[in-house]
């Protein structure tokens, strides 16, 4: 993999604002620095960075979002505004061994996603 300024800019964008942007959100932000960047380049770099393990893709039903924090953490989707938040509080999952036993396979990842309403949307609702 060769060095590329556009790819750097994509990583910068992901580092600057940890709001789990979509590909086109990333594209828009990179365009502030490189107005000519194409969405295809953004997609190509994102999938490259994913296979490299530099970033993660948050499977969000047809609209992928990207996160440069690859450490073990959980995501919270606000069902009202669609925003994605990080959760770093430790979570303990019991029963994993039983689950593995039940299917007779090997579990590599336990992907936990919460859904609900975020602080801001609750506040709005009460007004």
């Amino acid at each position: 993999m060769k060095h590329s300024h556009k790819r750097d800019a994509i990583c910068e964008v992901l580092k600057a604002k940890r709001d789990h942007p979509t590909a086109d959100m990333i594209c828009e932000r990179v365009r502030e620095k490189y107005p000519e960047i194409s969405l295809a380049t953004v997609y190509r770099n994102l999938s490259q960075l994913c296979s490299d393990g530099a970033i993660i893709k948050i499977g969000a039903a047809g609209r992928e979002r990207y996160d440069i924090d690859t450490s073990d953490h959980t995501h919270f989707f606000c069902e009202a505004c669609g925003e994605v938040y990080d959760i770093f509080s430790p979570l303990e999952l019991y029963g994993l061994a039983n689950a593995e036993c039940e299917i007779g396979g090997k579990i590599n990842f336990a992907h936990i996603t919460f859904r609900g309403q975020c602080k801001n949307c609750i506040r709005k609702e009460n007004n």
Copy 2:
């Protein structure tokens, strides 16, 4: 909601084989009985059944799968063959209160999905 034979057939298909089929898999199977059914009808009925709470959609990154078992259970994606399995073993998640506290919002669902390799794929790999 009026009664419809096509919708019945879709439910039948989902009941008959609990392999979490995609919309086009369902369409193919329904075609054994109703060769003229269109994919649009399948999609329309699936989304209707989802809003009714009769079935659930398993968010699977661009390729939705459907499950007629709406009881509380977990899913296991085999990363090798792409198959989706059910897990009914009870799982306990600790730390949810802390998570809720961290974001200051309200968690409605804890969506847990496992990824790994299923029994069959492990067997194949060892041959």
